[in-house]
């Protein structure tokens, strides 16, 4: 019984390793057709579901033209993309085109637009969320009297528990129109998506940052106050240096959360395969592409989606691992 339970327990622990490796392997296998077909150029190709006619029978030559046009497209990226003849097919047409691809046409899938959308929306979210979350953390840890800090702190932590779909829905019906009134553009856009994402990660980031700040020993703070430092100087010269790694680690964890967030973004980013030329343009991000297209896809488009999922998984894995090992330390 004892040895049985011991074995069982180490087996259970190994499930974690097993699941993570199988996620990686399964995603890789499913994405393989797309990886084989497009290779790393997938990362810089802005065409998704674009049908190109395949007049040459020689496959090699065809591949060359694909490469060429993909680079041309890349040069044009900063220019107005609306002029580009990017034909976005709806799902049915896509699937149909996928079937006939082998005969006379070919559908190209490139991941650039969702990748750029993911990076930009996360960037906007971080730019917006970091100062506010820092403000809240400083307020809770150093400024507010305990009578206020406690209930506000609890409220912030509870808000971190609200399902992300709620943030998305609010963004669609209230925040999006509000932003479009101020900045112009539609009520769904890259900007709205980034800001909603930012608002969503604020509670998470603020409570982690506050916890890091609170680890600063009182003795250090008191000695600084004793030699006449102001509160700001104590925060800047005592608390920040002491809690720096913890604070940065919290930020990166929040960044990881923003990268992979689906529902808060899906409502408000627009879901359009177009590189945004300005902040108020609608675009798409990796999780949103997956959410909107996965169920209806098959064949090469499904493989391309798995390729995107793999990219997202690897990015977030790297980000989180980095945060854990460099900033938050090996636990225990």
């Amino acid at each position: 019984m004892e040895t049985f339970f011991k074995r069982l327990s180490s087996l259970s622990a190994t499930t974690i390793l097993l699941i993570l490796t199988s996620i990686f392997i399964v995603l890789f296998i499913e994405a393989k057709p797309a990886i084989k077909e497009y290779g790393l150029k997938f990362l810089i190709d802005p065409r998704w579901g674009v049908v190109i006619s395949n007049t040459q029978n020689d496959k090699l030559k065809n591949n060359e033209t694909v490469e060429k046009s993909s680079f041309e497209d890349k040069d044009d990226l900063d220019d107005d993309l609306e002029d580009d003849d990017i034909a976005i097919e709806d799902e049915d047409a896509l699937a149909a085109a996928g079937v006939t691809a082998s005969t006379d046409t070919k559908v190209i899938y490139g991941g650039l637009i969702p990748i750029v959308g993911t990076i930009l929306s996360t960037l906007i979210a971080m730019i917006f969320a970091v100062p506010i979350a820092m403000g809240i953390a400083i307020f809770l840890a150093e400024i507010a009297p305990p009578k206020i800090a406690k209930p506000v702190g609890i409220a912030i932590e509870l808000l971190a528990a609200i399902p992300s779909i709620i943030y998305g829905m609010w963004g669609l019906f209230y925040f999006g129109p509000f932003i479009s009134k101020i900045f112009g553009g539609g009520s769904v856009s890259l900007l709205v998506a980034g800001l909603v994402l930012g608002i969503m990660i604020i509670p998470f980031m603020a409570s982690l940052t506050r916890d890091s700040m609170k680890t600063t020993p009182d003795v250090l703070k008191e000695s600084a106050y004793a030699i006449g430092a102001t509160k700001f100087e104590v925060i800047k010269d005592v608390i920040f240096p002491y809690a720096k790694t913890g604070i940065i680690g919290s930020m990166i964890l929040a960044l990881g959360r923003a990268l992979g967030e689906t529902m808060a973004v899906a409502f408000v980013i627009g879901g359009v395969f177009k590189l945004p030329s300005k902040l108020t343009d609608p675009t798409v991000s990796i999780p949103v592409v997956l959410a909107n297209n996965f169920a209806e896809s098959s064949g090469m488009s499904l493989a391309a989606l798995f390729y995107l999922a793999l990219i997202l998984f690897v990015i977030s894995f790297v980000v989180i691992t980095f945060a854990k090992f460099y900033f938050l330390g090996d636990n225990k």
Binding site: M1, E2, F5, L8, S9, S10, S12, A13, T14, T15, I16, S22, I23, L27, I132, A133, M134, G135, I136, I138, F139, I143, V152, I154, A155, L158, L159, A161, I162, P163, S164, I165, I166, Y167, M169, W170, L172, F173, I199, I202, T230, F232, G256, R257, L259, G260, T262, F267, P287, A291, F294, A295, L305, A309, L312, F313, S316, K324, N331, K332
Partner: protein, 268 residues
């Protein structure tokens, strides 16, 4: 000058705090107003096909409950391994870190993984796939909680158990787990609250179903997926139903969190 800088910075961070809180309360207030206006008895007694939410509540709960049944035993025993059997060796540290990384893995990616292994081979979405996706999301949270809570149990308790000649698994189950019971249960509760609001991993694993069903072999009703579908409909009445669902879901999640908080505090 120093005093001025101090005042400016403090004012700015207070302002940031107020701004953040304004946004967050804006969300809660609109949710409450829209939700309460849309709630009616009809919603609780009818299924989605008749513009109600009954089958969705039941479906979401069943999915989360099965996820608990799968995720909790594995996670609990894995946590026991990390804390009691591994003697904190390299492998345990590795698993612990891996589990933390897994906790932050994008939930939609877990959905794609489950789709590949449980939906594609079957050919259609099914409830099991959704429940397993949720279980995978829940697992690292359970491991972490169990690990942390067992770590708080004093060493003397273990020694006392071993000293009277009890085998280790008996010590673990009869003494250590009992001592850490409240903390671990709270962790389970919070993990449950986390997965019951998940949408992304369900979108293409269990999907949604307009009818009341308990058959996990087919598309399964889910409140969160339905909210996503309904909220993007042009029909205002359907959007209102989505608000009602969103409001009830949020209240439910917040109450579970408050209970968890109370339990931890009660314990001291």
């Amino acid at each position: 000058m120093r005093l001025l800088v101090n005042k400016v910075v403090l004012a700015l961070s207070t302002l940031a705090a107020i701004l953040g809180l304004i946004f967050l309360f804006w969300i809660l207030i609109t949710l409450t107003i829209k939700g309460i206006n849309a709630i009616s008895l009809h919603i609780f007694t009818n299924d989605l096909v008749n513009n109600g939410l009954r089958n969705l509540f039941v479906g979401q709960f069943i999915l989360a409950f099965i996820a608990v049944l799968i995720g909790v035993p594995i996670g609990l025993i894995a946590g026991i391994y990390l804390q009691e059997y591994s003697f904190n060796n390299k492998y345990a540290k590795f698993i612990r870190n891996l589990s933390d990384v897994m906790m932050s893995a994008p939930s939609i990616v877990i959905g794609t993984f489950v789709y590949a292994i449980l939906v594609n081979p079957v050919g259609h979405m099914n409830g099991w796939a959704g429940a397993i996706a949720l279980a995978i999301i829940m697992l690292p949270i359970i491991v972490r909680t169990t690990d942390d809570m067992l770590g708080l149990v004093p060493k003397e308790l273990r020694e006392a158990g071993v000293a009277i000649g009890a085998p280790k698994y008996k010590v673990i189950f009869d003494i250590i787990l009992k001592a850490a019971k409240v903390g671990i249960m709270t962790g389970f509760l919070l993990a449950f609250a986390r997965i019951i609001g998940e949408t992304a991993p369900l979108l293409f694993t269990s999907g949604n179903n307009e009818y009341f069903t308990l058959d996990l072999n087919h598309e399964f009703p889910s409140l969160t997926v339905a909210i996503y579908n309904l909220a993007t409909m042009p029909d205002k009445h359907l959007v209102d139903i989505a608000w009602a669902g969103a409001f009830i879901l949020t209240i439910f999640v917040l109450i579970i969190n408050l209970i968890g908080r109370y339990l931890i505090k009660d314990k001291g």
